[in-house]
Amino acid sequence: MDLRFTPEEIAFRDEVRAFFRENLPESIRTKLTLGKHFSRDDMVTWMRILNAKGWAAPHWPVEYGGTDWDPVQQYIFREELLAAPAPEPLSFGVSMVGPVIYTFGNQKQKDYFLPRIRNMDDWWCQGFSEPGAGSDLASLKTRAVREGDHYIVNGQKTWTTLGQHADWIFCLVRTNPDAPKKQMGISFLLIDMKSPGVTLRPIQTLDGGFEVNEIFFDDVKVPAENLVGEENKGWDYAKFLLGNERTGIARIGISKERVRRIRRLASAEKAGERPLIENPRFREKLAALEVELKALEMTQLRVVAEARNRPSDKPDPASSILKIKGSQIQQATTELLLDVVGPYALPFTPEEEGRNEPPIGPEWAQMIAPNYFNTRKVSIYGGSNEIQKNIIAKAILGL
């Protein structure tokens, strides 16, 4: 047992860190530090910078434009990226649909879609959830009926993150309503957002932002060649997809960056005559959070090390620990930031590009309450924390 990185790993970390320092546009970095939303263009710009370096999808196999990094290197890359802080490559493309396509798709799909995903020529969104199918995803109702060389799709998806920017949506659709189990009648379909019959309604989130949407399908004609893998096997691909994010789900890099930010801000912000960081109550809360975060980082590294010995299509149920604890810690960092900002959490400044007026109160304070509100989502989406605990109880504890 040696918990330190090897000299090679440290050299790799330094290389990655230097690349981010030199190539991440300052305007994007600033937006992330302040907790602001970045634009579609920001994301495309950043993905193309990564792609030019060959790092847009480092976890993909080399033959599809990935790297041969081992899980520890993958981990280092991701954590350095989040800590930079740089935008995470749009997960819907590189982490979700990409791996499904290269694992289960046909040659034509691989040739066409994979390079476009890496270069962000297509913006992808995820069409799984429906109004009646949240935690119980398998009860989804959106229907796809085969007619000749097309599917006709009718139904509704919801909570579609950044669907307003999307060129393509990957959907779970019901192709066999009469299957003996509801999981058995589902297929994985790629749908062009420009197809006639697709409409989108934005849903404003509680922080005032626009990041989720409802998407309606009204007799949408989808070429049958956009089916991934076999008909009615979509649930297997979805499970593969959902389990795929295991190394990144805890977002430790983001939390580390936030902890550093908390320390910086609390050193500058006065509470009474002294900086807030000298307030015993505050500093002890921060220290306690750092302990949780360090423990999670070590847990994450154990999962990463273990991943070297696991087949890649068998996700580790311990990733549920990472999801639960990681989301709780992310939420706790936003709560501590609320404590730092104090009364100036109150003003609401709409985020508009090109606004000239100075913000109300300190610039750094603007997004703190919105980020706190918005971060409630992380214990709800991607399998809620209640669902994750059910998984631990069943799959690990045998209850």
């Binding site: 509680l206 100036y344 400044t349 919105p370 989406y381």
Partner: protein, 382 residues
């Protein structure tokens, strides 16, 4: 010992709830909050007609002679409906200052204007550097013959952008962080040298940053005794905290009920989610947190009239800590138990959660009052 309301109080509760039930549903509230002024003058008139704006003032001042329990009843109902009208700013804060420190002439003029709903008042006290310290006042009022000249910057003036008149705290002697040397003045919001920048707040209400640039006012605009305003300010903030505690109980009770209702109708895995024991326990914990907050809101209403300043301060600090903790717990769980729907602007719980979050921040957060209570020797006593 009697926790029950008397007949008149029950009538007050019924009539406020009825008015809000009829005229302040969630969609109306959203529309009002999104309107340019951020509140509704017609509703404000309706409050005035019902006597709500006259409630805490003595009958001698033309008020209804209500006490903290009456305020509690109104604020709890306002919390349920997420009322954004400037009741706290105009009636509780500015009205509280005038009621406690105004001369008979000032009371006759200004309390009548507040109670009748004709004019709106706001309390311009907070300053950016002060954080939660009420005595940290840098704004200066310089005596100049029969006048004072006020200069300085005030922030987070609740409902300050539509106020007709401002009550401003300013230093007439001493250093920035001295309790002594602070005075209160009545300033017309449109006076020369007053500039305001209004904004929406995170919880859908309004606030303003107000700059005073050599604002000249007559000496008669002084409220109360020169240099000795601090105890008045502290007292009125205590009353505002007691009112906020009651409001938070309304906000939390509404979120809790919405959550229970939702658990009965939302189906996943072939059954209503209320059948999952883990969610039942979370809802039970929310209920406990709500009832603990309700108890402390009652305690705050009772103790806000206590004449022993130290006892009163302990009680208010304890109440603020309890509601802060409960607001956080109930708010976060209400969102969690709803899943995705409660992270959208389209659903009331999201707005209640934001209000609950901001209530925790107003006039001093949980950490601030925990430390303060510890310094005061706790709330149980020897």
């Amino acid at each position: 010992m009697d926790f029950d309301l008397n007949d008149e109080q029950r009538m007050l509760k019924d009539s406020v709830e009825k008015l809000l039930g009829a005229r302040y549903d969630f969609d109306t509230r959203r529309r009002i909050s999104d309107s340019p002024e951020g509140f509704d003058r017609e509703i404000w008139s309706a409050f005035a007609e019902m006597g709500l704006l006259a409630l805490p003032f003595s009958e001698d001042d033309g008020g209804m002679g209500g006490g903290p329990v009456e305020t509690m009843i109104v604020m709890e109902a306002f919390g349920r409906a997420l009322v954004v009208e400037p009741f706290l700013a105009s009636v509780i804060l500015a009205g509280g200052i005038l009621r406690r420190a105004g001369s008979s002439g000032q009371r006759a003029e200004h309390i009548a204007a507040i109670a009748g709903g004709e004019k709106l008042y706001a309390f311009a006290h907070h300053e950016r550097q002060a954080r939660y310290d009420l005595h940290d006042v840098a704004t200066m009022a310089r005596a100049d013959g029969e006048h004072y000249v006020i200069s300085g910057e005030k922030g987070l003036v609740l409902s300050g952008d539509s106020a007709d008149r401002l009550i401003v705290s300013a230093r007439t002697s001493g250093n920035q962080r001295d309790e002594a040397g602070i005075s209160l003045f009545l300033v017309d919001a449109k006076a020369e040298g007053v500039s305001r920048r209004g904004y929406a707040t995170q919880d859908g209400a309004r606030g303003a940053e107000v700059t005073f640039d050599n604002v000249r006012i007559p000496a008669s605009a002084l409220i109360g005794t020169r240099d000795e305003a601090f105890p008045v300010i502290a007292r009125v903030i205590e009353e505002a905290i007691a009112a906020l505690c009651a409001e938070s109980v309304g906000v939390m009770a509404d979120m809790h009920e919405a959550t229970i209702d939702y658990m009965k109708v939302r189906n996943q895995f072939g059954t209503h989610i209320g059948s999952f024991q883990v969610l039942q326990h979370a809802a039970a914990d929310m209920f406990i947190a709500l009832e603990q907050a309700r108890s402390m809101a009652m305690f705050a209403s009772m103790m806000v009239q206590e004449e022993d300043a130290r006892e009163r301060a302990r009680a208010i600090a304890a109440a603020k800590v309890q509601i802060g903790n409960s607001c956080r717990f109930v708010g976060q769980n209400a969102v969690q138990l709803h899943g995705g729907v409660a992270v959208t602007m389209e659903y009331k719980v999201a707005h209640s959660f934001k209000r609950a979050t901001m209530i925790e921040k107003l006039f001093g957060d949980t950490d601030h009052y925990t430390t303060r209570l510890a310094d005061l020797g706790g709330v149980i006593g020897e």
